[in-house]
């Protein structure tokens, strides 16, 4: 009889996570040797790829139910106003309108343009749209403020109400004696850096389809990064137990941190469905998506940094602020490098703009720009190579190795200008570097089920979600490797809260949370399978073995996988595995290098190449991993060059809410990307890297721009206006 052993794990039940001891087969729990992993770590096309290229993949926006109504939300056109009256009657009287409700009452205050006021459900989107327009609301407009600098003034209109100041202190840090550091420094740099606010701009907007079920429960299709978390919240909204709620998300069109709970639109969809007695689909339109469904806060910081002659950073003093609209702001600072002494204060500034939401490495890309710009300036002021200065002050052994690889790939030696701006001609080129840090570990509580049926099918189910990173594919790969079966023999199922618990897809935790659970489930399933087969065939259990290729030796006989499965009990074999910490790890590094060109006449920046060197422990699927790295660099490129959420100070409205005016990088802006997965032999576990790969791109580009033209652009994005200001060619903040 193969033995079992006890290991520590965590499980989540009824929303609570606790430590438990679980019994697992007494085999070595590890990812094994690289050469023994047939599927895991290879380049695999995605198992759901065919559904995506044929249009069969169903996103929340695609769900259509019999008798389904269309929900729409009426939103405030004012950045701040008191609602003096709401009259739903004209809408209710329109043919085809099945439900109308207020989301705020008369007397309430709307605090940003796009704030929810009322909602409608009607038989078609067109009727719903007309009905929303028919609702009569009278507002008493109130003074508002949408710019962070203006909002900090003592007499600025109060954003959240008269009893709450616009400025709230945030994270503060103090360590050592910064004044001493500045007094003794070989060089000190002091400057203000500004990183703009951004929009998530998910191609599929936020939204839900809510259908009440005959048993008193509800089924919700949600464009969400967390099916289980969303089910918990809907259970609370509906006042029913979670087992009466099913949240489904088979495919979703981008979240980037903005899609966790139901939000106001999910609650409205639920209430409308209840009121109308019919299923309701409520998907946001693009304008409301941009105004109300989340954004990444701005970050503005005065930084003073001191360095010794040899390049050691000895002190940093910084005071910063940023706005996340009516939501929060703040960045991790100082970032990455050892700084000797430090003194940092930060403030959140409230403005009458929709609330911020976490966006792919929340606060890190901004922090990176503020810190990496200052560090870069310090290097040049000390007369040192900025790459060497980084290597001197970077405590991460992983990044030390990655700098060397990246420098080689970008051609640092050939392209780095010791004297920036001394290039000849109208177009000058240079290189820059910056770094990332992230956790990348997983969270406990993931439970994975495996079922082997008599026809030889292997089903794996877990209540995670596939945001497009390829979760289904690595699940199939892990189980296939454990059984020695082809990947196609394994059928993964995700995207429903009816499946075993798993956390939300945020913080790059999905892979390190799901993969270990899947591995443990596969180990357990193999163990259970062999036991069941031994019993069914009256063989001693230690005589039954699984060989590569899915061949089962049953005593002296050899059986194919299919033949062996035929001998299983009618119900097949069902097993469950639980996440264990040994199979994941945290503390990823990551560095990026950029090669950029600046047009000295126009101030236009063109990026030629970006190299991303990123570790992730044990990689699951190189094909999708490299795609995610490209995606990170491309979003970083948008942050660097084009993206900038602009709210008009006069009207309080978001000016560039649509997808062309909020300028996302398009195919036109693409440089050459080189995603390099840094693998190292000591890696024992899996890490997630969705977030680190977006962090340093913009900083590396900004540093490359300086190296090219000799002008330090301290405001993102690196648009011609900011570049020309930095060159002193046009007046502005940069030249002031």
């Amino acid at each position: 009889m193969p033995k079992t052993k006890k290991v520590k794990s965590t499980i989540t039940e009824n929303g609570e996570t606790r430590e438990v001891e679980i019994e697992v087969p007494d085999v070595e729990v590890s990812w094994g040797k690289r050469e023994d992993r047939k599927n895991v770590g290879s380049r695999m096309t995605r198992v759901d790829g065919a559904d995506k290229v044929t249009g069969r993949a169903k996103y929340t926006y695609d769900i259509d139910l019999p008798g389904m109504l269309w929900g729409r939300i009426l939103r405030s056109p004012h950045a701040k106003a008191r609602i003096t009256a709401i009259d739903l009657e004209p809408a209710k009287r329109m043919p085809g309108v099945k439900a109308a409700m207020t989301l705020k009452e008369a007397g309430a205050t709307v605090r940003f343009a796009g704030d929810e006021v009322a909602a409608i459900a009607a038989v078609s989107p067109e009727v719903a749209e007309d009905a929303v327009r028919a609702i009569r609301v009278t507002y008493e407009p109130l003074p508002f403020v949408v710019k962070e600098d203006a909002a900090r003034a003592p007499d600025a209109p109060r954003v959240l109400g008269n009893d709450r100041p616009n400025v709230e202190p945030g994270r503060a840090r103090s360590e050592g004696d910064v004044n001493k550091a500045f007094a003794e420094a070989a060089a000190v740099v002091e400057a203000e850096y500004r990183a703009q606010a951004r929009l998530h701009a998910c191609l599929e907007t936020h939204g839900h389809v809510v259908a009440r079920q005959e048993d008193g429960g509800i089924k919700v299709w949600a464009s969400t990064q967390a099916v289980h978390g969303t089910a918990d919240e809907f259970a609370a909204i509906a006042g029913i137990p979670k087992d009466k709620v099913e949240v489904v998300c088979q495919h979703m069109g981008g979240g980037f941190g903005a899609k966790f709970g139901p939000g106001a639109e999910g609650r409205a969809a639920y209430e409308l469905a209840k009121l109308a007695g019919a299923p309701v689909k409520l998907m946001l339109q693009r304008r409301e998506e941009s105004e109300a469904a989340g954004n990444a806060p701005s970050a503005i910081m005065k930084v003073k940094i001191a360095g010794a002659k040899d390049g050691t950073i000895t002190g940093i003093e910084a005071s910063g602020y940023g706005t996340g609209g009516i939501g929060g702001a703040g960045v991790p600072f100082p970032y990455i490098y050892k700084t000797g002494s430090q003194k940092v204060t930060q403030e959140t500034v409230r403005t009458n703009i929709g609330p911020s939401n976490s966006m792919r490495a929340p606060g890190h890309p901004q922090a990176s720009f503020l810190m990496e710009s200052a560090v870069d300036e310090l290097a040049y002021k000390l007369g040192l190579d900025p790459l060497e200065l980084r290597m001197k002050n970077d405590p991460s052994a992983l990044r030390q190795a990655e700098y060397k690889i990246g420098a080689e790939r970008i051609g640092w030696k050939q392209h780095w200008n010791p004297t920036p701006g001394k290039g000849q001609g109208a177009k000058v080129r240079g290189v820059g570097v910056a770094s990332a840090t992230w956790g990348g570990g997983g969270g406990g509580g993931t439970q994975v089920d495996v079922k082997i049926s008599r026809d030889g099918g292997v089903w794996v189910g877990v209540g995670t979600q596939d945001l497009g990173t390829g979760v289904r594919t690595f699940i199939a790969a892990i189980v296939a490797d454990e059984f020695g079966l082809p990947r196609e023999a394994v059928r993964p199922e995700v995207g429903s809260s009816k499946l075993g618990n798993s956390g939300g897809s945020g913080g790059s935790t999905t892979t390190p949370s799901v993969a270990p659970g899947v591995k443990m489930a596969a180990i357990q399933a193999k163990f259970d399978f062999l036991q069941a087969l031994a019993k069914a065939t009256n063989e001693p259990p230690d005589k039954v073995e699984l060989l590569p290729g899915g061949v089962v030796t049953n005593g002296t006989k050899q059986l194919s996988w299919k033949e062996a499965c035929k001998r299983l009990p009618v119900a097949g074999v069902s097993s469950r595995g639980t996440w264990v910490p040994e199979l994941q790890q945290s503390g990823v590094g990551g560095v990026q290098f950029a090669h950029a060109e600046v047009d000295m006449e126009t101030g236009r920046v063109r990026v030629l190449k970006i190299v991303c060197v990123q570790d992730c422990g044990i990689p699951m699927n190189k094909l999708t991993l490299e795609s995610q790295m490209n995606g990170g660099m491309i979003q970083g490129l948008g942050f660097a060059l084009t993206e900038d959420r602009i709210v008009d100070a006069q009207t309080g409205r978001l000016v560039n809410w649509n997808l062309d005016e909020y300028k996302l990088p398009g195919p036109w802006e693409m440089p050459v990307f080189e995603p390099i997965v840094y693998e190292y032999p000591e890696a024992k576990g899996v890490s997630g890297v969705a977030e680190p790969v977006v962090i340093p791109t913009a900083s590396a580009i900004a540093n490359a721009v300086y190296n090219a033209c000799g002008a330090r652009v301290r405001s993102l994005p690196l648009i011609p206006k900011h570049v020309l200001e930095a060159m002193g060619r046009v007046p502005g903040r940069e030249s002031a």
Binding site: V53, A57, L467, T624, N658, P667
Partner: protein, 160 residues
């Protein structure tokens, strides 16, 4: 108001009864259950809704049902022939030219139209053609590679 009673979609005549002013995107998705074409912006700015009208790529979100009547409309669902994916669909799969996949149908339709006009587009032409198609996940380098690969498949009859 004028009504449209028939649309020629993916080679079959579909009986409908819709207001001619409605968008083609809404009719395809909500009346014909062809949800491959996606809503991204509703104003011809993202390309998620691109379908072919007589072989030309159009954003279905700003095309009226009335103007689509009488034309041959092809959606991503109509590319597969006798269980065979279109080479561009095949190429998207093989190079992994997607993450969330929400932009994929529009990208593929724009790419199919390009390959019909030009069986050997260079990278610059591909980029120019796809300029109206956005991918927030940043799959562009592979999307361009997929179009190149499909061009090779179409010309040489096999994967290049």
């Amino acid at each position: 108001m004028a009504r449209i009673t028939e649309l020629d979609v993916n080679g079959s005549r579909e009986k409908i009864d819709v207001d001619a002013e409605r968008t083609l995107l809404s009719v395809l998705r909500d009346d014909l259950d062809l949800t491959g074409a996606k809503y991204g912006c509703g104003e011809a700015r993202c390309g998620a809704c691109v379908v072919l009208m007589d072989g030309r790529p159009v954003p279905a979100c700003v095309t009226s049902a009335g103007s689509a009547a009488g034309a041959k409309i092809t959606t991503v669902e109509g590319l597969e022939q006798d269980g065979q994916l279109h080479p561009l669909q095949e190429a998207f799969l093989e190079v992994g030219a997607m993450q969330c996949g929400y932009c994929t149908p529009g990208m593929i339709m724009a790419g199919v139209a390009l390959l019909r006009d030009n069986p050997d587009p260079d990278e610059a032409e591909i980029v120019r053609t796809l300029e109206g198609n956005l991918c927030r996940c940043g799959a562009y380098p592979r999307i361009v590679a997929a179009v190149r690969r499909a061009a090779g498949m179409l010309r040489g009859g096999g994967a290049a």
